[in-house]
C-alpha cells in the first residue's frame, strides 16, 4: 500500500491558483524529488501535505491516516490535525532552529513535550528523559554533529544548522520526511554535506519527498521524479525517464537551463 496518497489537490491564494489538481502516490521506503521552476507550486504542495497550509480541495492520506479531505473537513478537530501532522516531518529551507536552545535541546525539545502525554511519564520521568536524550545523541552522530551537542545554532555554519534540523525532524520518527529546498539557503560548498546526509537516509530506506533544484542529486538519490509546472504535474517517472529522457516540452526547456 502506498504510504502517501495525494488526490486532486487544489490550492489558491486569492485569485492566484497555485495548485490545480495534483495527484500522486508514493511507496514506503522510496525517495521522490519534486522539481520545477520557481512559482510552479512545489513548496505550496509540500506545505499542504504537512498541514502548514490547508488545501482548498482534494484528499491527502499519510500511512492510512487521512490528514486532509475536503469532503469530510468538519470531522477533524485541531488536536487530530496536530496528531496527524506527527506522521510527517519537514526540513525547512531556512532551518528554523530554536536559537535559545542548544543543538541537543533543539533535537529533543518536541519529543520531551510529547512524552508528557505518556501515561507512564510521571513514574518513569527520569528514564524517559534519559532515553530521549540518548536517542537525540544517536541522531546527532548520524548527521555527524555529536561533538556540537552543547553549541547554540548561532555558533554553527549553515550546513551544520541544516543537519541539526534534519536530526530534529527525525527525532519525531516521522513516516515520511519532507525537504523544502534544503540546500537553497546554503553556500555551494556546504550543499554537499546535506546531500550526503540525505543519501545516508535513503540508504536506510527512509521515505522522503525532496523539493530541490539540485538536478544531479535528484537524479542520483530519487526513485521517482515529479516535474511541476504551473500548478500541475507536467511529467513524472523514474529519473531516467524524466531527467535523462524528458518527453514534455516544458520539462525539456526547464532541464536545458540547468545543463548550460
Amino acid at each position: 500500500m502506498a504510504i502517501l496518497e495525494v488526490t486532486n489537490v487544489h490550492k489558491s491564494f486569492g485569485s492566484n491558483h497555485v495548485l490545480n489538481g495534483i495527484g500522486f502516490s508514493l511507496e514506503e521506503g522510496s525517495v521522490l524529488s519534486i522539481i520545477g521552476s520557481s512559482g510552479s507550486g512545489k513548496t505550496t504542495l509540500l506545505r499542504c501535505i504537512t498541514s502548514l497550509e490547508t488545501a482548498d480541495e482534494g484528499k491527502i492520506v499519510v500511512n492510512g491516516n487521512v490528514v486532509f479531505d475536503s469532503e469530510n473537513q468538519h470531522k477533524f478537530t485541531k488536536d487530530e490535525i496536530r496528531k496527524a501532522r506527527l506522521s510527517v516531518g519537514l526540513v525547512f529551507q531556512s532551518f528554523n532552529l530554536f536559537p535559545q536552545y542548544s543543538v541537543l535541546e533543539n533535537v529533543t525539545l518536541a519529543v520531551k513535550l510529547h512524552a508528557k502525554d505518556r501515561p507512564d511519564y510521571k513514574a518513569n520521568k527520569k528514564a524517559i528523559i534519559e532515553e530521549i536524550e540518548a536517542e537525540g545523541m544517536e541522531l546527532l552522530r548520524k548527521v555527524g554533529l555529536a561533538e556540537k551537542r552543547d553549541a547554540y545554532p548561532c555558533e554553527l555554519s549553515g550546513g551544520q544548522q541544516q543537519r541539526v534540523s534534519i536530526a530534529r525532524a527525525l527525532a519525531m520518527k516521522p513516516d515520511i520526511l519532507f525537504f523544502d529546498e534544503p540546500t537553497s539557503a546554503l553556500d555551494p560548498e556546504l550543499t554537499g554535506e546535506i546531500l550526503k546526509v540525505i543519501k545516508g537516509l535513503a540508504a536506510d530506506n527512509m521515505t522522503m519527498v525532496i523539493v530541490t533544484h539540485e538536478m544531479s542529486f535528484a537524479r542520483d538519490v530519487s526513485d521517482y521524479i515529479i516535474f511541476m509546472d504551473d500548478g500541475v504535474i507536467a511529467e513524472q517517472g523514474t529519473p531516467e525517464q524524466v531527467i535523462m529522457n524528458p518527453q514534455n516540452e516544458r520539462t525539456k526547456a526547464f532541464l536545458s537551463r540547468f545543463q548550460q
Binding site: R82, L109, A110
Partner: protein
C-alpha cells in the same frame, strides 16, 4: 575618643539640616519605590494579557483592546490619576479611601498599556518560521508560546522595556498630584519654608535609583547574550 566622634556626628551631621532633609527625602523615596515595584508587579503580567487581547483573532476583543490602549496612551497619566482618585467618589459615591491605592491603579493601567505594545512588537518580530517549526513538530499553541517564542520575545524587549521602566521611576513622582507623600512632596515641604535646595537634591536620589536599574538591565542583556536571534 568615641564620645568626641559621636558628639561631632550628632552635632555635625545627624542634627544638621542636611541630615534632616536627607532622611525626610528618603522617607518620600520609599513611597516612590513602593509605587514603582507594585506597578511592575501587576503591570508586567497584565500587559501580556492586553497583548493577547490586541492580537486576538476575535475582532471585537481586538478592537476593544486597541481602543483601550489608544485612550490610555492618548491621555496624560496625570489626568488618569485624577480620574481614578476622584471619579469613584463623584459618580458612584464611594470615595477612594487610600491615595496610594488610587495611584497604583492608575499606574498599573497606564503602564500595562505601554508594556502591551512593547510585548506586541516583540512577539510580531519573531519570524514565522519559528511558529511553523513548532507546528510541524506537533507542539500545541501553549507549548509553542511558552517553550519557544517567549524567551526570544524577552530578549528582544529588554532594551525597550528598560527604557519604559526607567521612565516609570520618574513618573512615580506624578502621584504627588493626588497628595501621595512621595519624594517631591517631601522636598516641597522644605521649599514652602523657604529652603529651596532639597527640591534639586531629589535629583541625586533619582539618579542613584535609575543608575542601579541601568546596571541591572545591562546585566540581564549580557545574560541573554549567549544566543543570537
Amino acid at each position: 575618643m568615641t564620645e568626641i566622634l559621636l558628639n561631632a556626628a550628632q552635632g555635625g551631621f545627624l542634627n544638621s539640616e542636611f541630615a534632616e532633609v536627607s532622611i525626610s527625602l528618603l522617607d518620600g523615596l520609599w513611597e516612590n519605590i513602593r509605587l514603582f515595584s507594585s506597578t511592575l508587579l501587576f503591570a508586567l503580567p497584565l500587559g501580556l494579557i492586553i497583548t493577547f487581547g490586541s492580537m486576538s483573532k476575535f475582532r471585537p476583543l481586538k478592537y476593544l483592546t486597541r481602543l483601550f490602549v489608544w485612550v490610555i496612551r492618548g491621555t496624560p497619566l496625570m489626568l488618569q490619576l485624577f480620574v481614578v482618585f476622584y471619579v469613584p467618589g463623584l459618580i458612584f459615591n464611594v470615595p477612594m479611601q487610600d491615595r496610594m491605592t488610587a495611584a497604583l491603579i492608575a499606574f498599573v493601567i497606564n503602564y500595562s498599556a505601554y508594556f502591551s505594545e512593547i510585548y506586541r512588537g516583540g512577539i510580531e518580530s519573531i519570524p514565522k518560521g519559528q511558529y511553523e517549526a513548532c507546528q510541524v513538530l506537533g507542539m500545541t499553541k501553549g507549548q509553542t508560546f511558552f517553550k519557544v517564542i517567549l524567551m526570544q520575545v524577552v530578549k528582544r524587549v529588554v532594551p525597550p522595556m528598560s527604557n519604559e521602566i526607567i521612565t516609570l521611576v520618574k513618573d512615580t513622582s506624578l502621584a504627588r498630584v493626588i497628595a501621595v507623600s512621595e519624594i517631591l512632596m517631601a522636598a516641597e515641604r522644605f521649599s514652602r519654608k523657604g529652603v529651596i535646595w532639597p527640591l534639586f537634591y531629589t535629583a541625586v536620589y533619582f539618579l542613584v535609583f535609575c543608575g542601579g536599574l541601568t546596571l541591572l538591565f545591562g546585566w540581564i542583556e549580557k545574560k541573554l547574550d549567549y544566543y543570537k536571534g
